[in-house]
């Protein structure tokens, strides 16, 4: 039997008995970031493919949500800082070694891109919209002419943003549950799936919903594959990683992970999408909302469980 205790007494707030330094703000931010990445990626790609007319929700409507989601996400990040008045130093330093450092810069680039993209569709969406100033009208015309040059970087930066939400966690060697290189692609795929679900919710065209629904199904299958591989990788890893996997395989997160993330968040919506594809009538709201909830709960569980995994004590 081995027993370890602090004889000097140690009960530091948010550190002992287990780490809890990141609260609800971080998973919310990861969710909003992933969602934005998914929407912007599809918007960019379908614009480049010339499907602007066939896919209005993908290219025009859903991206309207992105600036709001990104600003809200950034605000969540700000709320999580403990030394808030010094936050601007994120942007007076360039530290490529730090995922949080370059992630902050990626957000600094993609947020204005998403605002430009949405602004260029404002008049189309709201015919009574008026920019008030003439130079804004001229600028809008210029943006509309050059949309293709925005679409490319938007799609590329969306992928970087999606991967970043995973790398932010996976770069921490000290948290064995996060410390897997699969987390970047996994969060990217999950983010794209939640983005697709948002587009499905907003779309009024049956054809568009069918195309995005098919893509979403593919993303869910890839996500399930990544989750299986992640857990297999942990079980084949070092002791701390085996312990991390056991949080989901009999440990305290088993029920929440399998019920809310795997079954209700992935398998069940996938089944509903398949049923709809073969001709059954399924209200599209159900799988879409389930996917969004699953994605959100997945991030909450990963952030919370990851902080429980450690090397010592």
């Amino acid at each position: 039997m081995k027993e370890e205790l602090f004889v000097s007494g140690r009960n530091i707030p948010n550190i002992d008995p287990y780490l809890n330094i990141w609260h609800w703000q971080i998973p919310m931010y990861l969710f909003l970031g992933g969602l934005s990445a998914g929407i912007l990626f599809f918007a960019g790609v379908y614009y480049i493919l010339g499907k602007e007319k066939q896919m209005p929700a993908t290219v025009k409507w859903a991206p309207m949500l992105v600036p709001i989601a990104l600003v809200l996400g950034l605000f969540m990040l700000f709320l999580d800082l403990k030394h808030k008045l010094y936050f601007w130093q994120l942007y007076t330093n360039i530290r490529l070694e730090s995922p949080m450092g370059w992630g902050a810069w990626v957000l600094m680039i993609i947020t204005p891109i998403s605002i430009l993209w949405s602004a260029s569709y404002m008049k189309e969406m709201f015919p009574n919209w008026d920019w008030k100033f003439e130079f804004l009208n001229t600028f809008e015309k210029w943006v509309i002419r050059n949309r293709i040059y925005i679409a490319w970087p938007m799609a590329i930066y969306a992928v970087i943003l999606g991967i970043y939400t995973g790398i932010l966690l996976s770069a921490f060697n000290a948290r064995p549950l996060w410390n897997t290189s699969l987390l970047g692609p996994l969060f990217l795929v999950s983010g794209m799936s939640t983005g697709a679900a948002t587009i499905i919710l907003m779309s009024k065209s049956h054809e568009e919903r069918r195309i995005i629904g098919k893509l979403d199904l593919l993303l869910i299958v890839v996500e399930l594959f990544f989750i299986t591989h992640m857990i297999m990788g942990f079980l084949a890893g070092s002791e701390v990683q085996i312990n991390a996997a056991h949080l989901f395989l009999g440990g305290q997160f088993t029920v929440s992970f399998f019920v809310f993330v795997i079954v209700l968040g992935l398998v069940f919506p996938a089944l509903l999408e398949v049923l709809e594809m073969i001709g059954y009538k399924v209200p599209i709201v159900i799988p879409a909302v389930l996917i969004l909830m699953g994605g959100l709960i997945f991030r909450f569980i990963m952030v919370e469980a990851g902080q429980l995994t450690r090397y010592l004590y």
């Binding site: 039997m1 081995k2 027993e3 370890e4 205790l5 602090f6 004889v7 000097s8 007494g9 140690r10 009960n11 530091i12 707030p13 948010n14 550190i15 002992d16 780490l19 330094i21 990141w22 999580d80 800082l81 403990k82 030394h83 808030k84 010094y86 936050f87 130093q89 994120l90 007076t92 330093n93 530290r95 070694e97 730090s98 995922p99 949080m100 450092g101 902050a104 770069a171 921490f172 060697n173 000290a174 948290r175 070092s238 902080q307 450690r310 090397y311 010592l312 004590y313």
Partner: protein
Amino acid sequence: MRYAMAIDTRKCVGCSDCVVACQTENNVPIGFCRDWVSETVDGTYPNVSIELRSERCNHCDNSPCVRCCPTGASHIEDGGIVLVTQHRCIGCGACIQACPYEARYSHPDGYVDKCTFCIHRVRKGENPACVSVCPTKCMYFGDLDDPNSDIVNVLKNRKFKSLAPEAGTQPQIFYLV
């Protein structure tokens, strides 16, 4: 120059004097600590063994906290001492997540705080507060690059281990066993 510490687990009695000395010397807020004493009991009575360790920031050679800091507030000073510049820290908590030794905490004033190896004393040629008060003289502080220092001597002659070396951090606190 490479500062490091060696702690004799066979001499330590777990009195926690090092903890109190650190709190006093560095004005550590109440309820927080930069060093702590852990006790590992192995076996079942009557065949038990106890190991006492005074633990703190390991001032790692490959320090993940410095790597992940988005502003450069966490940095490495001369002699390999890992420090946090208070006015550059935004309190994002990344370094706290990155530390496998749970050696960092969020100071009530917002910035991240940790053991400094008492750099203000070391620069004057004194030992860190914890080392200087130890009643059993179980702690050795010194420069690993100086072949005549106590720490090099003791590490040459005794078996030692470090904590969680598998985390890849190359910790610089050595426990004599």
